[in-house]
Amino acid sequence: MPAPAKSTAATSTRRRTSRTSEAQRAKLENYYRQMLLVRRFEERAQRAYLQAYIGGYCHLNLGEEAAIVGLLDALDPHDYLFTNYREHGYAIAKGIEPERVMAELYGRTDGVSKGWGGSMHMFDVEHRLLGGYGIVGGQLPIATGTALALQYQDRSEVVMCTMGDGTTAIGAFHESLNLAALWKLPIVYVIINNGLGMGTDVAHASAEPELYKRAAAYRMPSARVDGADPEATASAALQAVEAARGGTPYLLEVMTERLRGHSVVDPAKYRSTDETTRLKGADPVVLFAARLLERGVLDQAALDVIDTETAARIDAVAQFAEASPEPDVSTLFDHTYATPVPNDSRRLPGSPLFAPAPFPGRPA
């Protein structure tokens, strides 16, 4: 995520307290801008999915904006991030241009994974997003291995690995936390606890519903934080990241709400009307805007400007994605192996891509 605007020469002549509060103000405004960017991005992704621009599955970060912004604020740009399939906002907050994230959703060549990863499998070595993962828990051992590599290489970077609450039930969770604690790896595991697996709530899925407490089994420090509050999330995340940088892995549970269905196609019928009403009051973007107004950080006019600017940006993002070319089907085989492999079975009867070979030894 871009750093908040630096103080200018003019502000440096101010008294120290107001200078701090100006930096603070800029930081909070930047949080809000990032949160709104993710919000509008996801709303646009939802629309594009329903209009069939986007194929596959599409899991949105609606309700997770504050958590994303807070978590990523605690990471340095050179730190590594692993996420699951609900990753669009994380990719943006890690510094990847929203244009490339949207193009990936559209399956286009300018996408983060050149259109071959889709919504669930973005990967960007340069921005150190080492994958969204569609298999629940798939990212955990891999993130752990990357942390092990950093330790071997005596590096200062850390790994952050996010997952959902439901993911803590899968074996890979326990294997990974045990390994990380045993080997003192520089990794922060983050549970985004939105209360639901797909349709199954935490109480029905976890014998210890206070998920951060699971870390006790590995003597790993852990904490729980309100994920609707970007400042609280950022400071909890910073503590976790500092621990990890010092060789103490950490488990952070971030409490969020999933404002819509599990994915765009899920009508979430398992939710009661009470629940749906409650969610209306739990929207982190709305809550944070109200807080900024109340604290006098931003006034309504400023919020409106941000809104307009964000809407314009998202329009441009969608246009970029739409204009980007689709990958050519002839590239289907290009990356199955790292280099051209002798005897790779590309040429098959019935294959539309290559002219079939004649039957061998056919009598003249």
């Binding site: 697996g197 689709e326 098959l348 009867p349």
Partner: protein, 346 residues
């Protein structure tokens, strides 16, 4: 062999079953098959992620928890290895668990339990312990799913002795086969073609439940010039191809395998001896796929009857592609027609 009508008398106090012939979607047919099996035998229980109030991702278990309760329709945590492993333990104590895996790609956390335990326990105990566990897996592409959501991993299981690997192609088959799978004393990997879930067909709810569908292939259409061997989602493709061939004056026989392992070789051989040509169709990659085994068996047993080599049409040896290129990867009618042309050109 019992019929559904006879079965209802075995469970007292159960509500009247749906009876007669009805038009059902594929997913509803499995739902009715599960319901019938659960009414018939109270040791039958369902386990899986979000299968209770949600009714599963594809709503196959819709309404079953309401009817049979939370103990017989168990919403499990997100833990496939745990689901299949506990099912094995339940089976050791006489239960008949039916596990739902949400999508093809999510069976792999359970692969260990399936291949190292489930498939081997009967043999390991020299017959003392049976493993009547069914693992239902929605599989195949065609719905714009992607990696993990469009794959066809059946050959990986067919390669493991001790497992039965089956796949229905119509609502009627789905209804009967799920009951026969549950009644089987051996573990059954039950592959449900997800692209067919919404397709409708007539289902005779009183059709006999025996062992036929797990043991025998079914001739869907008689023909004389070429045998199209298919199962699951590819049967519909084979039928459409046969229609197109009929317009050209060629007569294709369509064979629905139903069981991929053990496979009804005799049915394939009988058909190919008659037609002299064989094209195998499946969505799974052709490389080391079921078609390879079929081609080998046909070559062994029909060598002198063959007019052309056995051909295969299926997925490529690449990871499952993105939604936009799915149709290039999946065996289409055109690709099957090309293969048939080649067989005739020989």
């Amino acid at each position: 062999m019992t019929t559904m009508a006879e079965r209802t008398h075995t469970t007292s106090g159960a509500p009247e079953p749906a009876s007669g012939t009805r038009t059902l979607s594929f997913s509803k047919a499995i739902n009715e098959g599960l319901r019938a099996a659960m009414r018939h035998d109270d040791k039958v229980m369902l386990m899986g992620e979000d299968i209770g109030p949600l009714g599963g991702v594809f709503r196959v278990t819709d309404g079953l928890q309401a009817e049979f309760g939370e103990q017989r329709v168990v919403d499990t945590p997100l833990a496939e290895s745990g689901i299949v492993g506990t099912a094995i333990g339940l089976a050791m104590r006489g239960y008949r668990p039916v596990c739902e895996i949400q999508f093809d790609g999510f069976v792999f956390p359970a692969f260990n339990q399936i291949t190292t335990q489930l498939s081997k326990i009967h043999n390991r105990t020299r017959g003392a312990v049976q493993m009547p566990v069914v693992i239902r897996i929605p599989y195949g592409g065609g719905i714009g799913g992607v990696e993990h959501h469009g794959e066809s991993p059946e050959a990986l299981f067919a390669h493991t002795a001790g497992l039965r690997v089956v796949s229905p192609s119509t609502p009627q088959e789905a209804y009967t086969m799920i009951q026969e799978a549950i009644a089987s004393p051996d573990p059954v990997l039950f592959f449900e073609p997800k692209s067919r879930y919404w397709g409708k067909g007539a289902v005779d709810l009183e059709a006999p439940v025996g062992t036929d569908t797990l043991n025998t292939a079914h001739v869907v259409r008689q023909g004389t010039d070429v045998t199209l061997v298919a199962y699951g989602p590819s049967v519909a493709t084979a039928i459409k191809t046969a229609d197109a061939l009929a317009e050209e004056g060629r007569s294709a026989e369509v064979l629905d395998l139903r069981a991929i392992s053990p496979i009804d070789t005799a049915a394939v051989v009988a058909s190919v001896r008659k037609t002299g040509r064989c094209v195998v169709i499946h969505e799974a990659p052709v490389f080391f796929g079921a078609g390879a085994e079929i081609a080998a068996r046909v070559t062994e047993e029909c060598f002198y009857a063959l007019e052309a080599p056995v051909l295969r049409v299926g997925g490529f040896h690449t990871p499952y592609p993105v939604a936009k290129h799915e149709h290039e990867y999946l065996p289409s009618v055109d690709r099957v027609l090309d293969a048939v042309d080649r067989a005739f050109a020989h």
